[in-house]
Symmetry: C2
Subunit: 338 residues, 2 copies
């Protein structure tokens, strides 16, 4: 088949690769309904994260099971499934504690920007829908696999409660999904820090109530002003830089949690500052599997429409343009039709 | 009156000072039933924290109100009261959010190692008992003011739940109170890291189930061994050094919270390590006022006996010996009779 391979910074190609096969009895093979490009794919694409090229790209996926290994019990060929970018057995102590993203058998998905993909740990990882979903829900179901699940975790880790005032740092796809999650969890007020008109508009559509275009100290001052000097009850950090993390911490009221899901790049935290600001932190790779059944239900019952985060749709053969558009910030997130 | 004054490293004196007076209409003056020396008093005593000597020492207190300012409404002369080391108005947004230790009007108590003390923000800070308590409960009531309240907060911030496996880093008075708190909150298993026989014995009495004398990597390995490789569900960090914080984080299972109450001295945290270990953090000055009514009830109904943490009792005139004994680790915590 043809699939997406990164050969080096800026060099992503749709080219012939081996067809995926069952390698372990716990594997499944799926035919993808759609796939997409993640903000985290841009780190190696930009050469900011070393990779051993050529690398099979893609970790967000949904589609129909075409084959399963001998040990797979909970999904069968013909079923439509969604899985997390973190592969997990859903039975180890970490999974049972609600953190499948730290599963004892954890692997990170790869090779999903392709028509077919191998899903290891299929029983633990995949969630089947009751029936084949209508086509128009495919983008939203795909979103649950990572970008929505990750934004949802940011809100969960930040302990968003009904009536809360929430600040979201980062207007990328994950930040926008964080807005949707906080809204769905009943937040009264959702402040997003964003300077881009299209992202601001989408944030408002997902439930944001206030837009703060200022950054740094000015941005913090604006959030404090909007919260009568108190700070936000919950903060979602969806970037992963030193600046964004500091911004998040300084927007939080004492006792608030910062849910951080942007992979920290060079972030250092001072213990005494955290202590006296009394800011809580919880983050890490999102335990999407924990949320998947609920998120899939919300999509199938049309209570949420996270698929709107895809503002560019391309045939998968044009995947290189999908990366370029996101790299140049012409697109928030690219959906690839297979 | 005579009171405790620190003149410089190692130089603490019981000497004549001005009698405390009502300075603001929100003040109260109390006659102390007892007071004590805090582990945090040792930082300036050891010269590890700069102070502008002479400094009035002491921030843990309970006793009888002798005078109140014109605006004080909730306590009156003759009542027995306990207050937190953090003075707070108990009405600002931070107090209402459960974090009186970050009160908009917060002050830190001082001058309580004395027969009389001025308590600012008396209405917000002081909790009166229904009647004068029996003498034998004075040490336990005094403990609620800081050392128990702080250990309790460590367990609360670490999200200790019934049935949990808890690790406690630090066998000082606060760590021991953390054991008591975790036990009271229903933890099944409480592992304390301690190398000192008297502290180990007291920990067992307060509810510890396992003692880990090893430190560093060996200590972490032992905790992992005791938890079948999983790590603790909740970790209490009660020291405040880089080593103790790292120990705490490495003992935590993915998704666990570390409640940290040791004031961090030179602690730096790496964002990516915290991210991938998926460890949550919540700490800061303990919001003792939030817990005081409950803790006082537990003491008055003799359900807990935190006063056992005082293993040295001296007349306040011998306060210098009280500091020395703690500095030399001959005593866990010194109670001063006034």
């Amino acid at each position: 088949m043809l699939a997406t391979v990164l050969h080096g910074p800026g060099d992503v190609r749709y080219e012939p690769v081996e067809d995926p096969q069952i390698l372990k009895p716990t594997d499944a093979i799926i035919r993808l309904a759609a796939t997409c490009v993640c903000g985290s794919d841009l780190w190696p694409y930009r050469g900011l994260q070393p990779t051993s090229a050529p690398t099979a790209m893609g970790h967000e996926y949904c589609g129909v099971v075409v084959e399963v290994g001998g040990a797979v019990k909970t999904v069968r060929p013909g079923q439509f499934v969604v899985g997390s970018f973190c592969l997990s057995d859903n039975s180890c102590p970490h999974c049972r504690f609600g953190f499948p993203s730290s599963c004892e058998q954890r692997e990170f998905m790869s090779g999903a920007q392709a028509p077919y993909a191998r899903i290891p740990l299929a029983d633990g990882t995949l969630v089947a829908t009751p029936e084949l979903p209508p086509d128009d829900l495919i983008p939203s179901l795909l979103a649950t696999s990572d970008v929505l699940g990750t934004g949802w975790y940011a809100a969960d880790a930040a302990n968003v409660r009904p009536g809360a005032t929430v600040a979201v740092v980062g207007d990328g796809a994950v930040g926008l999904m964080g807005v949707l999650a906080a809204h769905r969890m009943g937040a009264d007020r959702i402040i997003i820090m964003s300077r881009h008109k299209t992202r601001q508009d989408l944030a408002l559509e997902f439930g944001a109530t206030d837009i703060v275009p200022e950054r740094g100290a000015d941005g913090v001052a604006r959030v404090r002003e909007l919260t009568a000097g108190v700070g936000a009850d919950a903060v979602l950090e969806c970037v992963g830089t030193q600046d964004s993390m500091e911004q998040a911490i300084r927007c939080a009221r004492p006792g608030a949690m910062v849910g951080y899901v942007g992979v920290p790049h060079g972030v250092r935290l001072d213990g005494q500052t955290l202590f006296f600001s009394q800011t809580g932190l919880m983050g890490g790779p999102a335990p999407v599997r924990r949320f998947l059944p609920h998120l899939i239900d919300l999509v199938l019952s049309r209570k949420i429409n996270p698929g709107k985060v895809f503002d560019l749709e391309l045939p998968i053969a044009d995947v290189a343009e999908g990366y370029r558009a996101m790299d140049e910030r012409r697109a928030i997130k690219t959906l690839l039709r297979v």
